[in-house]
Amino acid sequence: MPLVPDLFAQALNGLAYGVLLFLLSVGLTLIFGMLDVVNLAHGSYYMLGAYAGLTVIAASGSFWLALVLAPLAVALIGAVVERACLRPLYRRGALDQVLLTFGLIYVFEDLVKWIWGGRIRSIPTPALFAGSVTVWGATIPSYRLFVIAFGLAVAVALWAVIEKTRLGAIIRAGVFDSEMTAGLGIDIQRVFTGVFAFGAGLAGLSGVIAGPIQSAYPPMGASILVPALIVVVVGGLGSLKGSLAGSLIIGQAETFGKAWLPGASMLIIYVVMALVLLLRPQGLFGRPLK
């Protein structure tokens, strides 16, 4: 393929991957900012989303129904996990919660294997976007374009909610100082549950969307977690802007790495992370470290 269309196609692929990472890392960074938990099981919600989507599609035949129902189901699971497992631990500090979420990875992964089996399952591309379009001489699967548009729409909607609504103000306040927010008469526990469920739901959404591109397989949760964590480190913990910027950077780095440096493609994102940490230890948009 000539250089310019090739570049363009790669950039769009990277953008689509970046969007998936954004949907994942937004939840990760919000949950961290508010609950002070690195939710190691966040990738599990991504996996659960893909499999729940699979089931909805098998039952109804509609990808679009799966896109709505699967994230809701995953959000519900997230809410239950927060209430039942994380809440008793808030007083004991962040470490126990991190360890608990690590145990949950095994629980969820084995449950998925139990229910759906360990094979790779592909999720069919919705008929509406099954074709491809040619832009500037590059052939792009139209589903990729949908993913990009959808992800950017979610990003804009999120920004609007968080910056412009009362709920968003409460969430921002909670990320900044949850104790103080509770002191102002906000039921912070409910906000915690809500944010956790919302983050899990977004991860589930990301799983459904990723399905037609990457298929569903049980260890997908544990393997997507690492790039998502790197996005959060690069962008800065607890920062939404950072999570968007980090996702786009890591998405491009990974995609171009695969195309241009196939022998070291897996290494690129770590190099990016190390560079950012050297220049800005708190991440691109993070608050300065104390």
């Binding site: 991190v98 608990l100 690590f102 629980v107 294997k113 897996m266 770590y270 470290l289």
Partner: protein, 309 residues
Amino acid sequence: MTTRLRAIGWVLLVALAAVFPLWAGNYPVKLLQEILIWGIFAMSLDLLMGYAGMVSFGHSAFFGIGGYVAALALPKSAGLASALVLPAAAAALAAVVIGFFSIRVSGVYFIMLTLAFSQMFYAVAFQSSWLGAEDGIVGVPRPALLGRSLDQPLAFNVYLLGLIVLVTVLLHRIVRSPFGHVLRGIHDNEARMQAVGYAVNRYKLLAFVIGGTVAGLAGALYSQFVGSISPDAFLWTTSGEALLMVIIGGTGTLTGSLLGAAAFILLQSLVSSYTERWMLILGLTFVLLVLFAPGGILGALRGRVGLRS
């Protein structure tokens, strides 16, 4: 229990374990050796976690480096240098570099950074053809000691036990030394230790390097035990399993980590002979332990004893 009785008990235990292959079958011996190796690995993590308060999800980096260096060096020369010294030195070097970046931050940030670094080594091993790429290195020979090969189960068993005794004694001395007390002080209140005038970061880095070195040793033993090493050794879930062992045994107890490793490996072999759902049980154990028994086995035992007295 007096110190002397306790010492006699330990010596008996070690002696019994050393001659275990004389009267036990192949499989139990394998289990014992696996426990010893993972016990060393878990203890090295407990030094970081239980004493210096640094929870690392990247400890597998050193385990993997030790394993790979031993696997590369042993076919060239079968001596102790390739079996133990080089792997430990390589792991120590890596620990200096990773530690330099990671100890500047703490808590969850530290967890994420160490995790990312270990995955970086996974990526390198996975994509380097000279490291066997995704298959890793197979056919790692056992070392020879004083001209005698350690191929026999009994000889290898004595070698492992000798090393674990050495490591245990060393780590015990370290945590009871002034250095160890400073580490505990940092664990309890880092800001105060800083204010009192300790170069906190230097202490943390040293602890990180000691822990990494011992973990490298464990990795080297692991590749000699299995006869191969693959990129999976670097996976962050390997660190997670070691963390679980430390927690089962009780953090900050060292010998508890040995118990934890034993419990983990015995449970695994027991459960997997009955059901395929080992991961589910492992995960639930982890969740329940964190929720209800944060002190681990030793913590629970000590709680009992404390109530009685």
